[in-house]
């Protein structure tokens, strides 16, 4: 199948930050593949490294180790010119539409800025292109000469999307694009993203902590905890049959907007909080909070292994545990 061709292959990617004299392992040995035309969801709690992963993937941070292969080419070995073309192909939509737009630039200039780098167009051509893009994301042409402060959150995020689309990318990292927006506006933006994916055959990495939205938009979903990938599966499997105790607990913590269902559903309570990524626990990173932890869990780090076709999990007991 044509659509199953990998577009982005990540192998053992790590990103460490130096904090004083210690090392913060924000992303720790993550490997995954994103296929052409699919949406890979990446979920996890704050501080689990999902945003750092997205940014490292786009070379906004220099990876500490590991390889990123984009469309068959190794990104880390790229020369400057190749890197420019990589950055044209891979774009990002940022989390906070209030902070990611320059307040002193008009919307038209914001959208057209990327065109200056990647295309040589005349002023009039740029204007037309920006107008067409704004039209495409559901804002009228008349927004072109406005400023960001005149727009609402949802409109700003549409500008952020238009900016990412301007350079005709093939791959977009959506870094929590809806978490700053209201529920009714979230649905508008999600529908727009899905529409654009169809129209331009885009590939998304969709980073979010909103597990119900991720399920809605993604084909496959990866769950991160403390910089590591805990489980990766297609979205149906992940929600109906999660094998990692962390995924199970995370899913059961989602509040359900249905009073009857909520009382029937069993909640797995997670005690305590996420350990510090500077002082990582030994062995499995989750063992201190895991309800099924055994002696081996504090000694050995479980590898991410395949428990069923296409379903990976990093747990010594994956597949052996029941859900309750």
């Amino acid at each position: 199948m044509a659509e199953k061709q990998p577009l982005v292959q990540v192998e053992n990617l790590s990103k460490h930050f130096i904090v004083g004299k210690s090392v913060l392992r924000a992303v720790d040995n993550v490997s995954l593949t994103i296929c052409r035309g699919e949406t890979l969801g990446l979920v996890g709690e704050s501080g689990c490294g999902k945003t750092t992963f997205g940014r490292t993937l786009l070379q906004l941070y220099r990876p500490t180790s590991g390889t990123i292969i984009f469309d068959g080419k190794n990104v880390s070995g790229m020369k400057r010119r190749e890197l420019v073309s990589f950055k044209k192909d891979a774009q990002i939509i940022f989390q906070d539409p209030y902070a990611s737009l320059d307040p002193r630039m008009t919307i038209g200039d914001i959208v057209a800025e990327g065109l200056n780098v990647h295309f040589s167009l005349s002023g009039e051509e740029k204007r037309q292109k920006a107008a067409a893009l704004l039209q495409k994301v559901g804002l009228g042409e008349d927004y072109i000469s406005r400023y960001a402060h005149e727009l609402s959150g949802g409109q700003r995020q549409r500008v952020g999307i238009a900016r990412a689309l301007a350079v005709e990318p093939r791959f977009i990292v959506c870094d929590e694009p809806i978490s700053a927006l209201d529920v009714s506006i979230q649905a508008q933006v999600i529908n727009l993203l899905i529409q654009l994916q169809r129209d331009f055959s885009l590939t998304y990495l969709f980073i979010s902590h909103d597990l119900s939205m991720v399920r809605y938009i993604s084909d496959r979903i990866g769950v991160m905890y403390l910089g590591s990938l805990m489980e990766l599966a297609d979205n149906e499997t992940l929600y109906s049959d999660p094998v990692h105790p962390y995924t199970q607990a995370l899913l059961s913590a989602i509040p359900v907007a249905d009073p009857d269902l909520g009382t029937v559903r069993q909640r797995i309570k997670l005690e305590g909080e996420i350990p510090s990524p500077i002082n990582m626990p030994s062995g499995c990173k989750f063992h201190q909070r895991c309800r099924c932890a055994q002696e081996i869990c504090s000694r050995e780090l479980p590898e991410l292994r395949e428990v069923a076709p296409g379903h990976m999990a990093a747990c010594h007991f994956a597949g052996e545990l029941s859900r309750t």
Partner: protein, 340 residues
């Protein structure tokens, strides 16, 4: 049931250079002793302003409260309280939990001292006694090692822990009502679940009534006794939790419920989304505030604000569709059922 708090025709406006922003436009509701009332709505709908007005946290001249407005606590008008009485009322009768635990604590004070501060203001006790009670309060909100934690500064604690401290402060003087303004919005889902459990546990233990202000319908589904949905400074619909979730009668409530993807459904159809954005609150709205976004909008909706219609003892809705001469309303619920 005893009505502990009653709000009558609350109007709140902000005086700005651009003009008067009327954030809350005639809201009336009550809170029974020991129950949980949720106020749900999107940003800018007036839910936070309503909750802060309950403690009279707004001062003139920047903020004005309507002359006919009344907030009655056990029959006593909060808006007419003297300075001393108000001080006692805030804390002893009504406690407040703010939205963002990162900014609502003083970064230069130990958390134990911050709880003790509230205790010292409201009670005639020694510093030492306040200190012991502060540790007790930390224990009540399930903070492990409370003696040690009382010596910490806010930056040494995680978001969930900080929110527990904020709750401990609100609880310290044993109020009979807690107003919680988006207490879990800044937190992760697993921590959110812990905090909601904690609030439920406290309610069980102390019999405190809770007003929960939130935008997340998932949070209220298993937590609230009654829900009221706000939009553009007005209450659009109110009812018991089951009535709101299973018989939503206002198109806005309907839309809110539908724009959340359901975890149980495998449907990948287009997510229901409302067009447009809420109205600018600087405008005088004589019409239904939702008319511009409503899929069922009729000519009358653009002319006059509908009256509140009672559907049951607890369920009330402000919508012209409830009017006897309006076209069939059943289509609303039928469409929803067909979609499931």
């Amino acid at each position: 049931m005893e009505r502990i708090l009653e709000v009558k025709d609350l109007h709140v406006h902000f005086n700005t250079y651009a003009g008067k922003i009327r954030a809350v436009r005639g809201v009336s509701f009550h809170l029974n002793r020991g129950e949980t009332l949720a106020i749900v709505g999107e940003s800018g709908c007036g839910k936070t302003v309503t909750s802060k007005a309950l403690l009279r946290l707004y001062k003139p001249p920047q903020v004005g409260i309507g002359e006919t407005s009344q907030i009655l606590y056990s029959g006593e008008d909060v808006l007419k309280m003297g300075k001393k009485r108000l001080q006692d009322y805030r804390g002893h009768q009504v406690g407040m939990v703010f939205q963002d635990p990162m900014t609502s604590l003083n970064p230069t004070m130990k958390v134990g001292d911050q709880i003790a501060e509230a205790l010292l203001i409201h009670n005639k006790i020694s510093k030492k006694e306040a200190r012991t009670q502060a540790v007790e309060a930390l224990k009540l909100v399930n903070i492990p090692n409370p003696e040690k934690r009382a010596e910490c500064y806010p930056h040494q604690l995680s978001g969930g822990m900080r929110q527990r401290v904020v709750i401990a402060i609100a609880l310290s003087c044993h109020p009979s009502v807690i107003v919680a303004d988006e207490p879990t919005t800044a937190l992760d889902v697993t921590i959110q679940a812990q905090i909601l459990d904690l609030l439920a546990e406290i309610k069980e233990k102390t019999g405190t009534a809770i007003i929960l202000v939130t935008h997340d319908l998932g949070v209220v589904a298993n937590f609230a006794t009654r829900i009221q949905v706000m939009y553009a400074g007005q209450i659009m619909e109110r009812g018991t939790t089951r009535e709101i979730f299973y018989q939503p009668s206002h198109p806005y409530t309907e839309a809110l419920l539908n724009s959340v993807p359901k975890l149980s459904s495998k449907d990948k159809g287009e997510l229901y989304s409302l067009k447009g954005t809420p109205p600018d609150l600087i405008l005088d709205l004589a019409c239904c505030p939702f008319c511009a976004r409503c899929p069922y909008c009729m000519p009358i909706c653009r002319e006059r604000m509908p009256e509140e219609t009672a559907l049951s003892d607890t369920h009330r809705v402000s919508c012209w569709l409830q009017h006897p001469s309006a076209p069939a309303v059943g289509s609303l619920n039928n469409a929803r059922k067909a979609g499931e």
